[in-house]
């Protein structure tokens, strides 16, 4: 019978650690407080060094605990989901109307672009009033999740 030797196991663990480490070294996410907004609230620079994954972003879009974008926006790319919200504008063709930097800015904190909007800021971790303790100091989406979401909404063209 062949069993995995101690050395072999150690090598695998070390390899896994190295992979994790290397991705963080190359992709230190920008902290919410360090984001540079342009004049109109756009954000030019990606929040991480890892390209956004549109498939992952699509899942975040409908996830009620994450983006929950469908709660407020119609999105014809998701006709399989019932009950699209009507609070915000329809997102069909949204990538024809806005560029990546603008959409990133809207995702991070749309209040810089649209004063008084009901839309939550998805990448802001301070300045809230009476925030529930378990969310204090957190952002609704992680930096990578914002990039994934952006990659997905950039596919919404007409």
């Amino acid at each position: 019978m062949i069993t995995m030797g101690g050395t072999m196991r150690l090598t695998i663990i070390t390899l896994a650690a190295a992979v994790t480490l290397s991705s963080t070294v190359f992709a230190e996410p920008t902290a919410p407080g360090n984001i540079k907004f342009g004049e109109n609230g756009e954000v030019e620079l990606a929040l991480t060094g890892v390209a956004g994954d549109a498939a992952s972003g699509r899942k975040l879009f409908m996830n009620r605990k994450k983006g929950n974008c469908l709660a407020c926006h119609v999105n014809s790319d998701m006709v399989e989901q019932t009950f699209h919200g009507e609070v915000g504008p329809e997102l069909d063709g949204v990538a024809d109307r806005w560029d990546a930097a603008e959409l990133r800015g809207i995702l991070v904190n749309s209040k810089n672009m649209f004063e008084g909007t009901i839309m939550p800021a998805f990448y802001r971790d301070s300045g809230y009033n009476r925030i529930l303790k378990k969310f204090d100091g957190t952002t609704i989406l992680s930096a990578q999740e914002v990039e994934d979401m952006l990659a997905y909404v950039m596919t919404l063209k007409e």
Binding site: G85, I118, P120, R130, I131, L132
Partner: protein, 279 residues
């Protein structure tokens, strides 16, 4: 494009709209009594012209449940409160009925609450009930949103059913009302929303499968299909705040009492619907 080619489109729009706005134009009647479910907004409302009962935003099936007291599940709890009304409790050996002939003596109370008392405090019905229990009966207080309290609130509120909401907002109530108004427009929580974000700016819109109402409280306590019990006003405020990831104020707190007065005043002119049915 001719008219006939537009017809199917018009029909499908009508179907969608009919679903979403089910019953906005229907009339709430119970035992032949007609309720005011929409009215001109009271003068103090700056951003809304017309006020609507939450009943008008619900689907036909939910609306129907409230139109017949035998179908209305809230009456199970109202019946429990009728028994409780006669129940002797506490060191003084009294029941509610020892001092109050019947629940009917509270006719009109629900329509004017909360109100400022002679001591200058803003008071609510749960506080009146608990005062009676501790001061006159020598009994334990009830929890603000407990089963006994919400049932008794249902019984007392029922005595004003059909009467127009008419809470005072001037004189000694003015400072409480101003504080409540400030809270209504205050953004809170990680979702950073105020009551007004949904219930003033977006009523009538769908938020996923929910049809946003004006957040009127003229039907409270309300039986919610969601949790199959009577829900108090402060209990509902608390739930809303948690939904937007905010630390709620405490039930019975000065903040929620002031907010209750302000929100109640936004329904001045609608009928009391206690005990209502919502989803």
């Amino acid at each position: 494009m001719n008219i006939t080619s537009l017809l199917p489109l018009a029909v499908s729009i009508a179907i969608v709209a009919g679903f979403v706005t089910a019953g906005e134009d229907s009339t709430l009647t119970i035992d032949g009594e007609v309720f005011v479910t929409k009215a001109a907004a009271p003068a103090h409302l700056e951003n809304v012209d017309e006020i609507f009962s939450g009943w008008t935003f619900r689907l036909d099936e939910t609306q129907a449940l409230q139109m017949d007291d035998f179908d209305n599940p809230a009456f199970v709890f109202v019946d429990q409160a009728l028994d409780q009304f006669e129940m002797v409790e506490g060191s003084a050996g009294k029941a509610c009925s020892s001092c109050h002939d019947s629940a009917e003596v509270f006719s009109g109370l629900r329509a004017s609450m909360p109100r400022v008392n002679s001591a200058g405090d803003l008071e609510t019905i749960p506080e009146l009930i608990n005062n009676c229990r501790t001061e006159r009966m020598g009994a334990e207080k009830w929890k603000w949103s407990g089963g006994q309290m919400s049932a008794m609130l249902g019984l007392i509120g029922l005595q004003s059913r059909g009467m127009p909401v008419e809470v005072a907002i001037d004189g000694p109530a003015a400072s409480f009302w101003e504080k409540g108004k400030e809270l209504y427009y205050m953004r809170v929580g990680q979702l950073d929303m105020a009551c007004s974000s949904c219930h003033e700016d977006n009523y009538g819109n769908m938020i996923r499968a929910d049809h946003l109402s004006q957040g009127q409280i003229n039907g409270f306590p309300t039986y919610r299909l969601k949790n199959a019990k009577l829900n108090t006003i402060h209990g509902r405020f608390k739930g809303c705040m948690k939904n937007i990831r905010a630390t709620p104020f405490k039930e019975g707190s000065d903040e929620f009492k002031a907010l209750e007065l302000y929100v109640a005043s936004r329904a001045n002119g609608l009928s009391v619907e206690t005990p209502s049915v919502r989803n």
